[in-house]
Symmetry: C2
């Protein structure tokens, strides 16, 4: 267990992820230095919060200049677990499954999709760009072969729990659930729910004020 990471609360971690995406963009735009004030403005925070958050990292800025963009990117990458390939599989080759599979952004951040599965015989074997849809029966085998750690549930709600069970049994340790079902996972497996509906509800709350 990483000592630095243990001191990072869920709430700080989420901001670190956002700093990461921000410095990634700044870096690609050629920025060399970024101050706590600039980061704060980008993410609608105070510069105090930014400095506090960054102080948790094994990294220092420089007075008068701020933080070195490239170094900060590298440090955040490491802390967030993005300094490696995180082999991922997708279960369900419907629209959501395909969307994730083809979205470059995930791959670019190390979420390398190793396979996509479905149980529909009409879909199995079909190609999606360089992938072909595999039979869900091969899940365990493929997950082990590729040492996949992350699994995305993109099946209809009714099949979500069964899919989660299969993923956990195959050795997946992190599940992203894009279905609307509430599912249970065994200890040692981390579950994150997609929040698209919650996001829409957030919009509904504020626009109907």
């Amino acid at each position: 267990m990483n000592e630095v990471k243990q001191k990072i609360s869920a709430c700080i971690m989420q901001r670190l992820a956002r700093y990461y995406l921000c410095v990634q963009r700044l870096d690609s735009q050629g920025a060399v230095w970024v101050s706590s004030q600039e980061l704060a403005a980008e993410l609608e925070l105070t510069s105090s919060t930014v400095r506090q958050d960054i102080s948790h990292l094994d990294f220092s800025g420089i007075s008068k200049r701020g933080y070195e963009v490239e170094k900060l990117k590298t440090i955040l990458c490491g802390v967030l677990g993005l300094d490696r390939i995180n082999p991922t599989v997708i279960v369900g080759a419907g629209n959501f499954g395909r969307a994730l599979l083809l979205h470059r952004n995930f791959r670019e951040n190390g979420f390398e999709i190793k396979a996509i599965f479905d149980k529909d015989p009409k879909l199995i074997g079909k190609n999606i760009e360089s992938y072909y849809i595999q039979d869900i029966k091969n899940l365990t085998e493929v997950v082990r072969e590729h040492k996949a750690k992350i699994g995305v549930i993109a099946v209809p709600s009714a099949a979500a729990q069964e899919t989660a069970d299969n993923l956990a049994r195959a050795g997946i340790t992190g599940i992203l659930n894009l279905s609307t079902a509430d599912i249970q996972v065994p200890r040692g497996c981390m579950l994150v729910h997609s929040r698209i509906l919650l996001d829409l509800i957030r919009l509904a709350f504020y626009i109907n004020m």
Copy 2:
């Protein structure tokens, strides 16, 4: 401006949305009463938090029995702005756009999708179930006709800002951005970013501990 709603912090509101999805399920399962303890267990909170949150609503429970599921559902529905149709349009008929269009869950919660747009001549006019893909040029007209309030950006990042501008100009007041671009919207327009990549990063952080 609704007085009850103004006292509700963003953090409480997000939990109210989760209570809503939970009591919606309980109701469909035939549950009549639910206690703060039960809700707390479902959402991994304390019963104190649940009672505090619900005390912000114009609604009371009953000692020894808890909260009436159906009434709580109705109240939450009203507070969250889900007691009406929230007419929605989708821009971009790629996989994400289609996935949202066909996902029953959104429609069931009042996010009635009025139209889906694209700028690709090869897609315009094509059918997706009972919809046909419309020319983005008709956006303003269609948004006004249906009094659409919510717009979903499901176009490639490069076109996201332009799409946001068009949506805002057409009178959309809430935007859900599924692209990875950082976009700006005028005052009076609420912007919510999809967090799928952030969710994946959250998984990466914890599974690589």
